[in-house]
Amino acid sequence: MAENSIFESYLAEQGYVLFEYLGGGEFRALGSYPNWCKSIWGAESIRQKTLRLAELSPFLENFLVDADAFWNSKRKGAANSPVWIERDFANHETPLEAWAARLEGKKILIVRNLSSSFAERQRLFQTARDSLLEHEQLLREIQKKEILLHCIIHDLSQPLNAMRGCFNLLSMEKLPGEQRRMIETGQRESHRQEQMIRGILEAFSGELAVQQNSDGKASEAPDLAACAHQVVEQFSPAFLEKGIRLQLDPRLDAAHGWRVVGDAPRLERIFGNLLENAMRYTPRGSGVTVGIEDKVHCLLAFVDDEGPGLPKDASSDHLFALFSIGKDRPGKAGLGLYFCKITVEHWGGSIGAENRLGGGSRFWFKIPRAMKTTPIRSADKRSATQKSSPSVAAAASVAPLSKDQPAPLAPGHLGKASRRLQILVAEDTDVNRELVTELLQKRGHSVFAVEDGRAAIAALSKKHFDVVLMDEQMPGMDGLEATRNIRQMERASENHQIIIGLTGNVAEEDKQRRIEAGMDGYVTKPFDMQALFQIIESHTRGGQQPGPAQANPAAAAPASEDAAAHLERSTAGNKKLAQSLVRSFLADAPKKISDIRRAVAQKNPAILASAAHAFKGAAAIFGAPQVVAAARNLEAMGKTANLDGAEREFRTLESEFARLKADLLALRTPSGATRAAHPRKQKK
């Protein structure tokens, strides 16, 4: 008896109360009837000998159907209810749980008050769901930022490009002083605005880069099949739960090593967005298949579903449009498919959707294969990836305007090119095409302009061009696809067409796309005319000759001025130190050049990387963008153990170094140093 009493006390303390089912909907409390029961179901109920629980609690009324089924079955164990909440007379909420069991042949209902442990359970659920909500919100924010970045690059830079081009053209005219000052103000302010846009872009690019590089794989050419495998594995539980079969196309062989442009995290997001889309529209019991097909120059990835198919009036443009939500095939927020589109197109691919013959729909994207990496030269002085490295930033600074001291070019400042080059311009935007054409013609070059990549290829088949300036994004065949085709055609010959990209994209992966397409360099829009001339002529040895305005040495801006300015900044105006640095560099440079030459000749990538790195660091003190760029390219070749084109790059390095050497030798005279240290003062 005493033992029973102790046991009952223990149960009561743990919040349990036991009822025996008497039949006819009536229950009898076993042992004590706790106060919390009285608060919820009333003290009156216990004064009666039996309770009709179903009448006291709608929840128990529902559960007792399951309990009765259990009591009348031969099942072992117990049938338990989920948690439910009862309110007492003071409106205080009590969490409860119930079990139906058979004990000693009796039908027993056990109810437990969970108040003591519920707070912790509530806290865990709350934390988990708050985290999910925050995660969803974060994903939405990231997608919006990516869209914003895209819009800034492609929309804002276009009119600015035209403005800067017009100012540049006007600055080459002979204008009265007041008008010239106004033009100079326009140049300076448009430059400042460009810097502001770049600043915003760099801020976003940096943030996105952190997201994208978090797994450290972003720089490698990703394996499309591995991405498909990864995402299918990730989505399998969700599909299983919805009763949909998710499978990889049996023909898909992970061993292919299908390397493509882009990066794995975003490829997986593209697959993921397409799968989420398929999951929404595929009925229970049917299937979704992910596969990849080889299309020679590119790979076709697809997600096939067995859903109702695309609505009759739905076009691909509509499905993948920004904020295309809540229509025929609604997306999460109207951003998922748009993200797929801008990302795939960003990498030079395409995306679409169509109905399948046997029913259901296919969402697909084509993406270029990754090609062997070759180094690339750039006239972009503002790349987000370069800003963290002073030496690289200096190396890439080819325009006379520094960030701190924007200043317009003097009229006729650049003069005429030493050699008249035949230049093919492929640019779809009329105003840009006209501006580039006019700038190049004023420089003394011969220009033939076309509107897309296909026309550029046709022009190249009929005539020789020294350089092709290729806009990246054009309707029909874009610049990257045209470049890939040109490189493909060159394989049978020894020829190498110089192709310079014109682009508004500054992110690191854009650079990678250009490399993979086979471009030799690029100029970012809005471009500076000096940067444009410099990159063209550095690739063709079409160096400048003194033009009309350069007849006056004070108005000229020889390369030595840049070197001097850099040197002055590096040494904080200490002329003795500057002279010493010049002497040391010139004394040491021949050995470093010799080391690089030997590494190239012996095809030794490790020594090449080391020697080129050392030389690059030394030259960067003097600005010397062309020297530094060539050294950087050689260093990259060494690091990637890919020495294709190393000899050519070394020849560039040698010739650029010869120019730098001449400039530095001029600086060693006191008059030269003085003149070069204050170039802008002397211009006035």
């Binding site: 609690s57 529902n62 948690v83 969490p95 659920f125 939500i325 809540g326 229509k327 609604p330």
Partner: protein
């Protein structure tokens, strides 16, 4: 008095509990408290000249942590399908839940409530999607448990539908 069991169905954090509190107690709290399990409330209403007690089953939101058990729905006369208009996915999940109910039970009166319409700037569901849902037979309400907008109307519409069945 006539009693009708009404279930609140939808994803987590769409505002089911807030809608019930607004309807029963005319109270709203900005604080999000996730629901665990089931809470049953009652509200007496009058429709078509009859007094009706609505027994409101506020069922926890479905997600990876908690699944809605079909046994909760036993004896249900109608349900409010609730989605958060600022989270498009909750509408898709709600409609999937409705399909699941349709597979398991006979045709049951229901209304679709797109909640949180006070957050207009974050609204993700386009008007023509709502129009298509209406064309599919849904009674669609843009509601706000915070302001009370369309809350009474949604429950009234459901009550009428249950009485007329």
């Amino acid at each position: 008095m006539l009693q009708k069991k009404v279930c609140m169905l939808g994803s987590f954090a769409v505002g089911k509990t807030s809608l019930v509190r607004r309807f029963v107690e005319t109270i709203f709290s900005e604080q999000y408290h996730t629901s665990i399990g089931v809470k049953v409330d009652k509200k007496e209403v009058r429709a078509e000249g009859r007094d009706v007690t609505l027994v409101l089953w506020d069922i926890h939101g479905e997600d990876a942590f908690q699944k809605v058990q079909i046994s909760y729905l036993r004896g249900m006369s109608g349900y409010l399908l609730v989605a958060d208009g600022t989270r498009q996915q909750t509408l898709e999940d709600a409609l999937a839940l409705a399909n699941h109910v349709a597979e398991m039970m006979e045709k049951i009166p229901a209304v679709l409530v797109l909640n949180k319409c006070d957050l207009a700037a974050q609204w993700e569901i386009e008007p023509d999607r709502e129009a298509r849902l209406a064309a599919d037979g849904w009674s669609v309400f843009r509601s706000s448990a915070k302001t009370g907008e369309s809350v009474e109307q949604a429950f009234s519409q459901l009550t009428l539908a249950m009485l007329r069945k």
